[in-house]
């Protein structure tokens, strides 16, 4: 166990609660200092980025984690709720238990990165800035907490409280149908988390820590088959109930991904959300779903992951192809990117369904890449929308000459999104398909899913054609090129995209030990 402390407080606690500190600072700022609010918020998110960099420097990629406590890094474990004699049922113990391994670490990096980018992109928010940034920082805390929590109860608390700021961010600062989109997002996710809560409580009452003999929410203990008494509801003998639990958890997480048929909230939320929030939504929030699956469903119910391999792969294939087809039909630039997100998250699901080393490596890598690439794409939508106040793809044309720098930025992002070799998504998508081919149960589905690549290229290239090629309509002569602030928020992400395209092992190395451990665990090898 690597420990790392600043001022006596663990680094992960810093990362989770630094934004809360930022919230307090913002709330205490006097009215006269209102114009500095955004800089303070950016300051706090950049501190987060610095901490993430420190974490990256200290992180030991050779530790596996997953189901071994000793393999987790930066572990912090404190007792949160400890009620000695819960009537007739031993004691109840909930821990404040944080830690990272190769599965969560890329997500922590991604969260820090996207939060920072999102804060810069939020400069275009003009109305009620204080409220906006307070909510924004609250959201960051929720997201970070989800990725580092190792106690199921704690995980659930972060998972749910993150909905609130999101509701207000979409609902107050969003577009025309913002109220509808916000409540749809909230209700959908809450519906999903109802299932997660059920399974969580069920797991608690089936568990018995082999060492202490107590019931537990500790995810790592829950991964140990010895934890469950054979006759308990999620015990090893209760195959049906374990499969039902897996399915229920899958629904809970799939809503967040979003997997077909639970995806309908996403286009609405994206279209109505302000640019920075779309970036966060696509960049980080969707990953919480797939991360939750790997961390909880796949690890606690490996039997479920094996059993449901084919159905999940089918859902993934539907996501890939249906998402791409929907994207092709869109006339709204932002909606197109939203549907392409559904398609790309389908790849992640496919990689995970394969349950192979290469597939899951690809899935996690794709989660990271999709985060960076889609962030740039949404930022680009924001750039054009801020200037032209329309996102209609058919309203434009010939922008390439008018906005050359913008064209360059968006071209890199779009080609990355297609999966052009040399850019990061190529590696992850290749890995995912390799994983899919390697697993003979889902090989056919993986082959069908490759159709998505062609569709993906089709709608992206068509978009480029509609926006940038052809003749520039008279009225868009007023458009100005991308400005410095927008470049600051997009270019670093593109640098990462290119860097990881050329040197993918940088990221793969961080996760691969853990992924091996996870895959071995799923197939019961160790």
């Amino acid at each position: 166990m690597i420990e790392f402390k600043l001022l006596g407080i663990g680094i992960l606690t810093w990362m989770v609660f630094l934004p809360i500190l930022g919230m307090v600072v913002l709330l205490l700022m006097p009215k006269s200092a209102e114009k500095y609010i955004k800089y303070v918020a950016v300051g706090f998110t950049s501190l987060l980025l610095v901490l993430a960099a420190v974490l990256l420097a200290v992180y030991d990629p050779s530790k596996a984690g997953v189901n071994t406590l000793s393999g987790f890094q930066f572990v912090e474990k404190l007792t949160w709720i400890d009620i000695p004699a819960y009537l007739f049922d031993g004691r109840i113990k909930i821990e404040y238990f944080l830690g990272v391994d190769g599965i969560s670490f890329p997500m922590v990096l991604l969260t820090a990165l996207i939060s920072f980018v999102g804060a810069i992109a939020s400069f275009s928010v003009k109305r009620n800035e204080k409220g906006y940034y307070v909510m924004y920082l609250f959201l960051v805390t929720g997201m970070m907490g989800v990725f580092v929590a190792l106690d199921f109860f704690l995980f659930f608390v972060f998972w749910e409280i993150m909905l609130l700021p999101m509701y207000f961010l979409i609902g107050i600062w969003g577009g025309e149908r913002r109220e509808y989109a916000a409540i749809k997002f909230f209700l959908y996710t809450l519906f999903g988390s109802a299932f997660i809560l059920l399974v969580m409580i069920g797991l608690y009452f089936s568990s018995k820590d082999p060492e202490t003999g107590l019931r537990t929410f500790n995810m790592i203990t829950l991964m140990d088959p010895r934890t469950f008494a054979p006759d308990s509801i999620f015990g090893v003998l209760n195959v049906t109930w374990r499969l039902i639990a897996f399915a229920a958890l899958f629904v809970g997480f799939a809503i967040k991904v979003p997997a077909f048929p639970f995806h309908t909230w996403l286009p609405d939320a994206h279209v109505e959300a302000p640019t920075a929030i779309s970036v966060i939504l696509a960049g980080v929030l969707l990953k919480m779903g797939t991360y939750g699956m790997l961390r909880i469903s796949w690890s606690i119910f490996p039997d479920g992951a094996r059993y449901f391999m084919v159905p999940i792969a089918i859902i993934a294939a539907i996501n890939i192809i249906y998402g791409a087809l929907c994207a092709m039909a869109q006339k709204d630039f932002k909606k197109l990117i939203a549907y392409s997100s559904i398609s790309h998250m389908g790849y992640v699901l496919l990689g995970m369904a394969s349950c192979t080393q290469i597939g899951i490596n690809g899935a996690i890598f794709q989660m990271f890449n999709h985060g960076t690439i889609t962030a740039v794409l949404f930022l680009s939508v924001g750039v054009i929308y801020d200037r032209a106040h329309t996102r209609g793809l058919n309203d434009f044309g010939g922008l390439a000459n008018k906005m050359p720098k913008y064209f360059a930025v968006i071209m890199v992002a779009m080609f990355a999104s297609i999966g052009l070799p040399g850019l990061s998504a190529f590696i992850s998508e290749t890995f995912i398909f390799l994983g899919g081919f390697k697993n003979e149960f889902i090989r056919v589905i993986a082959i069908i899913s490759t159709l998505g690549i062609i569709l993906n290229a089709a709608y992206i290239l068509w978009t480029i054609q509609r926006l940038f090629l052809g003749t520039l309509p008279e009225k868009w002569n007023i458009l100005t090129d991308i400005n410095a602030r927008e470049l600051i928020s997009t270019v670093p992400l593109l640098v990462i995209v290119i860097f990881l395209g050329i040197f993918p092992s940088f990221m793969i190395n961080l996760m691969t030990t853990s992924v091996n451990q996870l895959v071995n665990f799923i197939w019961g090898i160790n």
Binding site: W80, I81, D82, I83, A85, Y86, L87, F88, D89, I92, F156, V157, E160, I161, L163, L164, Y167, F168, G171, I172, R178, E179, A182, I183, F186, L187, L190, F191, A194, L197, L198, I201, G202, Y204, F205, I233
Partner: protein, 497 residues
């Protein structure tokens, strides 16, 4: 006999204090002859003293007045709940314009104390007749209170409706009691339990009839479907502090007697095995409770969605909340009762908080309609953020006290393998979010009308009261050890081994 009565008086001190303070308040009111906070303060002091004596009973376990009432941790718990909520409501009344503008002077203070007295008796009675009488004490006081503003048509109308429903319900209840008495030959629930454990007439459908009829009385107090019809109208018509009082204190009293009645009367040989109640064969009361609970949740939540008045919405919401609380009884074990007590504590803070915000708002705006709250978040931010806390707590979002309550209720269900019921309840709480968040939607998502941006001002006292309710709502959501400890301790009832 005399000696026994004198001995019993010792365990009757909290109630005696309430009676004394009731009289003191009446006399003070007669002397002062005008609206005055002094009466309220005197009332609050009386309740605090009574609560102190109730606290002194904490380690007592005994029966008094020839088997009429008992003193046990369970009743002490409820006495505390009643004392706390009554104090808070009396303070609410000081803020309320409706109460201030009424033609009465300070009657509400001693009416509320007498309701608390009735509630105390409800929580400790173990005799069917005593249960009925104390329930009537509470009811009659509530009738008067809900018609408090006699000049306001809505208020009088609500009192009238309340009386009619109340009379019908308690009529049915007393008929059920008489049937049960005819069956068992006793009014004392311990004796009934003993009789039923030995006799094998329990499978008779008449038993079910008895239970349903008696439930009419209890169900009416906790506004459970199908005895809920009075709730929306009375909640809407009564002054808001009274509504809050009915929603919290009176319904908690209903739960107190309901839980004790079912837990004790139909307990096989008065024994608990591993925390589970041995239910007398044939008397399958948990199934009846399941029906009521599910019906209350579904009706309450789905009808609340369509309400345009926040007060009416809270009325339906409290029907639904009552449905959640009843879930704890369904599992028929100590864990379930613990969960119910936790939820009742949570309910006290979050519901009273919501009503307090409503009082403050309707003082300024003279409306409790949703549309009137448009953009209020920009005019009264602190009040509205507090409202957000209460609304989210009511819908059960984690890190609020409401989640703790729901978490324990669902845990009790799942521990008894009642997954489907937990799922129904969870889906209901998803629906409930829709209307709770609607309040926030009007407050924050909608902008105030043009030229209507003046900030609303509230007295410092209002803020103190608001924080006194909002901070526990948040704090106990994150650190709920004390709540659980209290509830666990209080789940022990007299006469159950």
């Amino acid at each position: 006999m005399l000696e026994q009565t004198l001995n019993s008086l010792k365990s009757f001190i909290p109630e005696t204090v309430l009676i004394v303070s009731l009289i003191v308040c009446i006399i003070l009111d007669l002397i002062l002859r005008k609206k005055s906070a002094i009466v309220s303060v005197a009332g609050i002091i009386g309740i605090i003293i009574s609560a102190y004596f109730a606290w002194m009973q904490l380690d007592m376990k005994g029966i008094a007045f020839s088997g009429m009432i008992v003193v046990d941790p369970y009743s002490v718990f409820f006495k505390m709940i009643f004392a706390l909520s009554t104090i808070i409501i009396i303070i609410f009344a000081l803020f309320s314009k409706e109460i201030f503008e009424s033609t009465h002077k300070n009657e509400h203070v001693y009416l509320m104390i007498s309701l608390a007295l009735g509630a105390n008796l409800m929580a400790s009675s173990v005799n069917l007749l005593m249960m009925y009488l104390s329930l009537e004490t509470v009811s009659i006081t509530s009738y008067i209170l809900s018609g408090y503003n006699k000049k306001v048509k809505r208020s009088s109308e609500s009192a009238m409706k309340y009386v009619i429903y109340g009379a019908a319900s308690s009529g049915i209840m007393i008929y059920g009691i008489s049937l049960l008495y005819g069956f068992t030959g006793s009014m004392n629930i311990f004796e009934i339990s003993m009789f039923l454990s030995k006799a094998n007439l329990a499978s008779s459908p008449l038993m079910v009839l008895c239970i349903v009829m008696i439930l009419a009385g209890f169900g009416y107090k906790i506004s459970s479907v199908p005895f809920h019809f009075w709730t929306p109208d009375v909640y809407e018509g009564a002054p808001i502090p009274v509504t809050a009082f009915l929603a919290v204190t009176s319904s908690a009293a209903g739960f107190a007697v309901l839980i004790r009645f079912f837990a004790t009367t139909f307990l096989q040989n008065g024994m608990i095995l591993n925390g589970n109640f041995g239910i007398i064969p044939g008397v399958n009361w948990p199934e009846i409770i399941i029906v009521l609970s599910v019906a209350s949740m579904i009706l309450g939540n789905f009808v609340a969605v369509w309400q345009t008045s926040v007060k009416r919405m809270l009325a339906y919401s409290s029907i639904a909340q009552g449905g959640y609380i009843m879930l704890g009884l369904v599992v028929a074990n100590q864990q379930g009762i613990t969960a119910m007590l936790i939820y009742l504590m949570a309910y006290l803070f979050m519901n009273l908080g919501a009503f307090f915000v409503l009082i403050l708002i309707s003082n300024k705006l003279d409306t409790d309609e949703l549309i009137g709250m448009k953009g209020l978040g920009y005019k009264a931010p602190v009040i509205c953020i507090a409202m957000a806390v209460f609304m989210l707590a009511l819908s059960g979002i984690p890190s609020t006290i409401g989640f703790v309550g729901k978490f324990y209720l669902f845990s009790a269900l799942i521990h008894s393998n009642m997954f489907w019921l937990a799922l129904v309840a969870l889906m209901n709480s998803v629906v409930s979010l829709f209307f709770y968040i609607k309040v926030l939607k009007y407050m924050f998502l909608m902008k105030p009308d043009e030229g209507d941006t003046q900030k609303l001002k509230f007295s410092p006292g209002a803020y103190i009261m608001l924080f006194a309710l909002a901070i526990p709502t948040m704090f106990f959501g994150l650190y709920f050890t004390p709540l659980v400890r209290i509830a666990e301790f209080s789940a022990t009832m007299f006469g159950i081994k």
